[in-house]
């Protein structure tokens, strides 16, 4: 069974922070979302009737066993995958009915994506990797440089701008990945197991960075993770299991 929309928006009780969040506007509204895969002759239902509201400035963690549909839900939020039924409204826009072309354009301005394995382009330097999303904008070269420099400073890698991914540690690569996700100043950051490939110390640094992006820059963040310690850094932890979202 899925969580009811009204339950989904219930904040962690007893904090001023959560009280203020309860009054924040709903940025993401997921309604009756359903998805199933066809494998040979077998139909595998991932989830059915998922409802969720995410308010501006929330930092949420989504946990669940492997194959529970966490990444699928994340992909639908990013407009990378389409549901069989239901709707995803982000900042007032219904994205499930958008064309692929419009979705790509929308994604470049609204979503920052952080991957488990960083997924940096090995032939580009840290600077060039971060600049990638900005190539899709109308910014001038000088403006792009300003944005990239700011993003590099934000993740503490100003001195690694000209380094290639192979010359960086895992933690540094993930910081570059985060800089790439925030460089175009999207409202939402979606992170799929962002600490899954990192040692404890690097993971801690990454989570601290995400917390900072949420607290100081008011980014709305949804992190999919298996790691309970990582999930604890979020304001709220959700569980997706057997197609049901618990909040």
């Amino acid at each position: 069974m899925s969580s009811h929309p009204s339950d989904a928006t219930t904040s962690v009780s007893g904090t001023t922070e959560s009280a203020s969040k309860a009054t924040a506007k709903v940025l993401v509204q997921i309604r009756e979302l359903a998805k199933a895969y066809q494998r040979d002759s077998q139909r595998i239902e991932v989830f059915n009737d998922v409802n969720l509201d995410i308010r501006t400035g929330e930092f949420l963690a989504l946990m669940g066993p492997s194959g529970s549909g966490k990444s699928t839900l994340l992909n639908m939020l990013a407009g990378l995958d389409r549901p069989d039924a239901g709707s995803v409204v982000v900042d007032g826009l219904e994205i499930t009915t958008m064309s692929n072309r419009r979705l790509a354009s929308w994604r470049s301005t609204h979503i920052g994506f952080v991957f488990q394995f960083y997924n940096l382009l090995p032939v580009l330097t840290a600077y060039q990797n971060i600049e990638l999303p900005l190539l899709l904008t109308n910014l001038s070269k000088r403006q792009r440089r300003e944005h990239v420099t700011t993003a590099l400073a934000l993740v503490g890698l100003s001195d690694r701008a000209e380094h290639y991914p192979r010359q960086l540690s895992g933690g540094q690569q993930q910081r570059v990945g985060i800089a790439r996700a925030v460089v175009s100043d999207p409202a939402i950051i979606l992170a799929d197991e962002p600490t899954g490939d990192l040692d404890a110390q690097s993971a801690d640094e990454i989570l601290t960075l995400l917390q900072r992006l949420n607290a100081e820059y008011h980014k709305t963040i949804l992190v999919v993770t298996h790691d309970a310690h990582a999930a604890e850094r979020a304001h709220e932890i959700m569980h997706l299991d057997k197609g049901v979202l618990h909040r």
Binding site: N75, A78, N100, A104, S108, T109, L121, V123, Q128, L132
Partner: protein, 379 residues
């Protein structure tokens, strides 16, 4: 323009593979340049002759001669301004395999008939005055390092023995297709040296009116139809074109080889691009996640493919142009052989087309890639 760096970075991702692909395209377009130039040179040669001159040769073939007495009868035809004649010598300088054309010509009438062969008036006089004198093409002078006034000895193959000539004139053709490696000397010298055993190989007739060439040719051949040496008369241009056809269907052969090479390289380039895109499926998926449009990715892959083939094509065509600039071994068989700008322009267009076709499928694959499936593969 903002994706240029990305295209360049992708191109040099696997330097060795890119280099080998560029080299294979280079070799292919070097061949393209040469083969295409063979066709254009043959076309040029077939158009080099004048429509204002007729050639009368033996109806049985070019290897059969005509009686010298034909000259007077030919000159008597209305519309014929002057008559000259020539014969093939077929000797060699030092190496029997080193071929160049030598003609024994009726000196006074022949040079007057060919303004295309440019010689200074003093040198013409010097040539006409001396029976053993020769007129040599500037290319042949360069090839053998000969100089004006030098005596050179040719060994005869048809007309046995050593034949000494003094170079008294050097000609430059006004059209490269004329060739600048011919050797002309006095018919009389050959006549005397062979004890009068030769006859003209063909007659050249200068016409008053080129428009009447066809009817005049018919009249001439009809007049000699029942003689001991029937003739075949045609315009000089048609006669030259006949020589070109003696090469057989070289054009077809060259085009067939060129097409085969083009398709072979197309497969090489396509395979390279397929591999290049296949190994970066994850990256394409990431770029799509970042918001890159399908058409942008399509364009990036195509740009990479076209750049590789254009670089290879430009290198190959440039090498072909410089390899056959000025005097070159091809001039002997294909007078005026050179890789022209037209061939280079056509080659660059073909290179771009090659890049477009070879990159189209991988570019389409990249554009159509399912992000979710690709990300699952790299995760």
């Amino acid at each position: 323009m903002r994706f240029v760096r990305l295209v360049r970075a992708n191109m040099f991702r696997n330097k060795r593979r890119t280099l080998l692909t560029v080299l294979s395209v280079t070799v292919a377009f070097f061949l393209f340049g040469v083969l295409r130039s063979v066709i254009t040179t043959l076309d040029g040669v077939s158009e080099v002759g004048s429509e204002a001159r007729l050639i009368t040769s033996n109806a049985s073939g070019i290897t059969f001669v005509l009686p010298e007495a034909h000259a007077q009868r030919l000159a008597a035809f209305e519309g014929v301004r002057s008559v000259s004649w020539a014969n093939w010598f077929g000797g060699y300088y030092t190496d029997p395999n080193d071929y160049f054309a030598q003609f024994a010509v009726d000196a006074e009438t022949y040079l007057a008939m060919y303004p295309e062969i440019q010689i200074s008036a003093e040198q013409v006089d010097a040539f006409l005055r001396e029976r053993t004198a020769a007129v040599v093409g500037v290319g042949l002078m360069e090839k053998y390092g000969w100089r004006l006034g030098q005596t050179v000895t040719l060994k005869g193959t048809i007309f046995a023995g050593d034949w000494d000539f003094v170079i008294r004139a050097v000609y430059t053709p006004d059209n490269p297709s004329w060739g600048d490696e011919s050797f002309l000397f006095h018919y009389e010298y050959l006549y005397e040296g062979s004890n009068g055993s030769i006859s003209p190989g063909w007659f050249v007739l200068q016409l008053d009116d080129p428009d009447r060439a066809a009817s005049l040719a018919n009249r001439i051949d009809a007049a000699f139809e029942n003689s001991t040496a029937p003739t075949k008369t045609e315009t000089e241009r048609a006669w030259q074109a006949g020589f070109v056809t003696m090469w057989g269907n070289v054009g077809f052969l060259v085009r067939a080889i060129g097409t085969a090479v083009f398709f072979a390289i197309l497969l090489v380039a396509a395979n390279t691009m397929m591999m290049a895109v296949r190994e970066r499926v994850g990256e394409v998926a990431v770029m799509k996640t970042l918001g890159f449009q399908d058409r942008t990715l399509f364009g990036i892959v195509l740009a990479e493919s076209i750049t590789i083939t254009l670089i290879g094509g430009a290198l190959g065509l440039t090498a072909a142009r410089f390899a056959f600039l000025g005097q070159n071994p091809m001039n002997t068989f294909f007078p005026g052989f050179a890789v022209g700008w037209g061939t280079i322009a056509l080659g660059l267009f073909a290179a771009a087309l090659l890049g477009l076709v070879s990159g189209a499928v991988p570019a389409f694959q990249a554009a159509r890639l399912s992000v979710v499936q690709a990300l699952r593969r790299v995760a």
